[in-house]
Every structure is written in C-alpha cells, then in structure tokens.
Amino acid sequence: MMIRKSALLVLSLFILLSVATIWLLRSSWTEQLAENTLQDMFEAKVEIEGLSLDLISLKAKWDTLVIADKDREMFNLIETGPAELDIVGMPLFEKKIIIELAKVDGVSVGGRRKTSGWLEKKKPSKAAPTTTPTSADESAAGGEEQAKTLAESKEDIPSLDLTALTKNINVDGLINRDQMKSVSAVKSTRDNLTQTYQEWDKRLAEQTMVADAKALKARIDKLDLNTKDINKLKKQLDELKQIQKEASRLQKQAKQFKQDASRDWKNTSVQVKDLDELIDKDVDQVRSLAKVADMDLNEVGKVLFGRAVIDQFEEVLGYLRKAKDFVKAEEEPADIYERRQGRDIHFKRTSPALPEFLLAKAEFSGVDREQRYQGTLMGLSSSARVYGKPMHLDMDLSSPGGSWNVSGEFDRTGEISRDLIDIDASQVDLGRIDLQSGKDSGLPQALIPLDSNVSGLFTVIGGRLDGQLSLKSDKVSFDFHEQGSDASSQKLKRDIKATFKDFDSVDVVATLSGTLSSPSINVKSNLDNKISARFKSLLGKKIKGIEDDIRKSVKGEVNKELNAAKKELKDKKSDILGRVNNVTGSTGGVDKRISKLKNELEKKIAGSIKNKGVDELKDSIKNFRF
C-alpha cells in the first residue's frame, strides 16, 4: 500500500503550524491555564504576571502572583514576587499539574486590592450558596461558627468593676420584682397550691367510700343471728362473707386515696422548699447588676487575661480556617452510566497517586509589617485523599522583637480531619498587650512583658478542639488607666495599682477545649491566688457587706410572698389531709365487726349440727324394740 504524499505534506504543515502557535501563545496560554486552575482551587480571582514556561526543561517562572481572598472582596489572600517552579512532565499527559519544587520570594498576606477579588460565578450569595460544601468545607464552616462563638465568649468573661465598690449601691433600685425567679416561683407555687386544694376538695366531695361503708354497716345490722334454723344460719354466713369481700375492697380504695393525698401535698411542700435555691440565683443576678458578680475572685486570670487570649485564639483559628480551605479532601465524582460513556475502571497504583494539582514542596520568604519570614510548605494538593499525605508548614518569623517558629500539619487524608498548629518563641518582646479591661474597672489596662517565652499548640480533630497558649515572662509591668475624678475611687485605684506592683514574672496558661460548636476557654495564671488574696484583704469586708445587703433585700422581697405561701400550704394541707383521714376512718372498724360476727355464726352453726345429731340418736333409742 502506498503512502499518500499530499497527506504527508498537509500533516507536516499542520504539525509545524501547531508547534509555532503553541510557541507564540505559550505564555498567555499557560497563564490562562494556571490562573483557571488556581481560581478553581482558591475560589477567588488569581492574577499571574510574567509567566514563562520552558517546555523542554519544564521550568516555569513568574514575576508576580496575586490570589484574592474569597471571604474578603477587597483583600488579597497572598501575594508573591518572583518564583521558579520545577514541573513534572509525565503527569501533564493526565492533565495534572505537579510541581516538584517551588521557590517563591516576596510573599505577603492580607494586602489591599484595588478591584474586587470575587469571581463573578462564585460571588457569595446569602440566599443561595453557589458551591456544594465538601467535608473539608464543612469543617471550615465549623471554624466560622467557632470564631463567632469565641467572640461571644469574650462577652461572657466577667467584668470586674472594682471601683463600683466605692459607690453606694442602691440594691432596692436594682431589684426588679417582675424578673425575680424566686418571686415568680412563689406565685406559681401558690397557684399550684390552690389547684391542688380544689382538686382534692372535688375528689372528697365526689368520693362514695363513706356512703359505701354506711351501706355495708346497714347490711350487717340486718343479719338475723338469733335464729336456730341451721339453713338460715348458713345463708347469713354466706351474706357475711360477701360483705367481708366488699369491705376489704373498700379499705384498699381508702388506703390508696390516703396515699394519693399524702403524695400530692408532699410535692407541693417540696416546691416551697426549692425556693431557697432560686433565692440564691436572684442574689447572684442582683450581684451581677451591682457589678460585684465575681467578687469571689476565683477567676482572676480569666478576668485579667481572658479577652487578650481570645484575640490570640481567634487569630490562630483564622489561619487554621484558611488552611482548611486550601487542603481539600475531594474525591473524584462517581461515574454515572450513559451510552457510549462507559465506566472507568481503576487499577492499583504502583507509583504514588497524583491529584489534579500538587505542590510537593515550596520554599518561600517575604517581609510583612517589619516581620521577615521564610519557610517551607509541603504537600499542598487539590485532593489530600488522592495524594495520601497531609500538608506540612514550617515557618520562621523574625522581627525586631525576636524570632518565632510556626509549624503545622493539616491532614485531610482520612474520614476525620486533623489539623495541628504549633507556635514557639523564646525571648521575644511582645510589646504592649491590651488586656481590654473596662476603663473604670480599676484593673490594669495593658500587660507589658519583656523577654517572653510563648508556646502554643492547637489541634482540631473532627469537631473536637484542643488548644493551649502559654506565656512566660520573667519581667513584666502593668499599665493602668488614668486616675478617676472621684476621690474614693482614686484611692481604690491607687490601692489596686499597688496590688500589681510587686509582680515581676507572669506565667499565663490559656486552654481552649470542647467542640467547634461549643468551645470553652479557661485561663490560669501564677498571679491568680496572689491577686485574689490581696483583693480579699483589700476589699473583702466591703464585698461581704454588699453581698449581705443584696441577700437581705432579695429575701425581704421574697419572704412577703413566701410566708403567705407557707401559711396557705399549712392550712390547706391540714384541711384536706384531715378530711381524707375522716373518710378513711369511716371505712375502718367494719372488718373487725365482720370477723366477730363470722366467728359467732360459725359457732352457732357447729352447735346446731351437734344438737341435731343428739336428738336423732335419742329418737332411735326410743323407737328401739327387741
């Protein structure tokens, strides 16, 4: 068979033209391809400038890369300067971009954008989300929820307004009767009392036990025990046995009636007793309104450092959320059978499985707000499950204040996601840490630690949260708000300031635990006990006096209603239980009488039978003839 010469010519021309076109358009074509791939990954605009691709050595370079933040329209997630990439060739045939090594300089995060970074098709909509969340996205959503709850928990930290103690607290003015739990409980107890009384009054009126007992007694009275006729005596005995059965049933009914009454009235008494606990709660509420809620000072660490710690937790969890977004666990969609589509059969991989996109190793460096950082990122992939390895981050930051190391592992390879961030810094200057205490609280406004050691470990496994942030500083000072105008408050503020004067070292340990949906924070410091003791000696008597006043006022309000309730309970309870006793008493005594009569009847019957036998014997002897 001959070769078609014309086809050979056309084919050669076609190949030449294709190569030339690819060569001329390689930059814009590869730029477009890379931008689209990254946009799919980050769900935000991606801009690459100066991208060049060497098809022979498979090396790529770019001048700048900007990836927008999908959650913040006018901010960038990351910006980079010049970069060099080593691309693996063979996977390109499978439309997979595998970068073996990337060297990136000038990395910075969170820069401002001139234009919106949202992709038109992926613009978030409140009414209808545009993307279906994967398991990793769901975890990230959990992270959002987490941040919100943490922000809320900041408000839950008790505010310690020590200067409130210098003012005369109008406790009566703080008490709102309508909102007092104990007062409303007394009211509802009295309502229950009335209802129970009415119910028992009705039951007593409707009961037939007294009438039934009377009827039984009348039936007993009717019995004729003087007859000598043995047959009549037997009939009387049968009737008596019937009456005994009915009397026994009546007594059981009366016993149950009495038990019900005792139970109902016991419950009502318990409700009245529970009021004491509610009074304690009302006292706590008024203490809170008087801003002396946590004067027991058990949580000084939380009060002093809690808000600042939550800010740190939020920042770390913010990075964790971003990492969650990058590291995806998506699997290939299931094949759907259609004609001429077939099914793809997957075989064992003898070489490592590759995801659509993989950045095996990236070495990066950059400067951001006086912080110079460099590090490595390994295993950033479009599908961690396909790649089978978690993403690792190791980063060193250096600033004029000292140097930090941040490392992390973000694992989406299994059913349960596992994220870990480890932070370490030694001998760093943290500057001024705003403690966010109220202006009039009298407490320090800021902590200024020098040469601090900071360590933190945060893990999120599935929905479970665990985190610990520890700050140790051998040299600290506290900064206070300006003195108030009020003379008594000025004195107290001076005293409080003096309380913090001798502390040279601070050791704060904050722990984050619980689940993503309900996290809890605990903060302990080496100052807790010392400050607590000093505050108690300084303010203890004043605090106790205020608490006693509050308790007295609350009890005064409740007692008016409570005493009336207790009297009503006593009267109604004795009335009902007395009437119940009367009813049950009326059914008593019948059984004893019946037993007595039954014995008499049985004796008489036995006697009659004996007499009848003797008479018959006598008659037999009389009539005997030889």
């Binding site: 078609r4 086809a7 589509q341 077939g342």
Partner: protein
C-alpha cells in the same frame, strides 16, 4: 439534492478510480475509528495512519458513520466486553496495572469499558469487514455493473423523462 450528490459520488467511487482494496481498507479503518467514542490517543494515531495511507477517505467516512450508529445500538454489549476484559480476565490484570501507571498509555483511556470494548470489537471485525467489503465491491463491479445495461428496468429508467431531465440539468450545472 445534497443526498443525491453524495449517493452519486458513492456510486462513482464504487464504479471507478480506487481499487477494491483501497475502498475496503478505508471503510474498515473508518468503521474501527467510528466504534470508539471520543478521541483517545490510539484513535488519533489510527486516524493519522488513515490520512497517510492511500486509502479511500470517502469510504472511511461512510464506515465511521455506520459504526457510530451501530456502536450506539450495541453499547451494552460493547460495554460488557470491555468490562469483562478489564475486570474478569485475571491473566490481563498485570498488563492493565502497568498500563494504568503509565501516563502516556492512560491517554488511550484503555481503562474505560466502552473504549476497551469498542477497540476489541473493532479489532475483531477489522479483517472480516475488509474482506467482505472488498468482495462486495468486486462483485458489484464484475457482476452488477457488467449486466446493468442489459436489465429492462435500467432501460425503462434511462428512457424516462426524469432521467433525461436529470442529465440535462447536470450538464448545465444545475445539479
């Protein structure tokens, strides 16, 4: 009129020009290409071979079109053949695994049941179709065409006003 033109061209192809081997070769390779859905790597290579060899492209188009229709109808059977080869024949598993781990061979989409099934069916039918078509063309030329003018029906058609009108119209270039 287009269909009439295509038909006329087809008849002309059968009648003269290319050899029965070139016609049958074009048809059978076109049929092979048409059976497989999409453009996996091996189909692109076979198409290039078809273009390079001096085979009849018109017959290849006809064979391909016919194969598309047939493969649509026989899809379940083709799918079963492919699935059987890929999943049930243990002796082939090691080959499939080595293919699966080669990025270049993966471009053939050999691991797709329909692609594998149509490749196998096409391969099996390639030579029978070639010989059958060649025989038919030979028979058409030697037997059918040689006796065509002798038939009464042919004479009737040639004497009809429609045929005469068609000839005049094609002479002036209307058709």
């Amino acid at each position: 009129m287009l269909w009439l033109k295509i038909f006329a061209k087809f008849v002309k192809i059968l009648k003269e020009g290319a050899t029965p081997g070139q016609l049958a070769g074009g048809f059978s390779i076109g049929f092979f290409i048409g059976l497989t859905p999409g453009w996996p790597l091996h189909i692109i290579l076979i198409t290039l071979i078809l273009l390079l060899l001096n085979l009849n492209l018109g017959m290849a188009v006809i064979g391909g079109t016919l194969a598309v229709a047939i493969s649509w109808l026989l899809d379940p059977m083709i799918d079963t053949v492919g699935a059987w080869l890929l999943e049930d024949v243990n002796a082939l598993q090691s080959i499939w695994i080595s293919f699966y781990n080669n990025s270049l061979i993966l471009l053939t989409r050999f691991n797709n049941t329909v692609v594998m099934g149509s490749f196998t069916v096409g391969l099996v039918l390639l030579l029978p179709i070639y010989f059958l078509i060649r025989l038919l063309i030979q028979q058409y030329r030697d037997v059918f065409l040689a006796n065509l003018d002798k038939w009464r029906l042919t004479r009737m058609i040639k004497n009809s006003w429609i045929y005469r009108w068609y000839q005049r119209a094609s002479e002036v270039g209307l058709i």
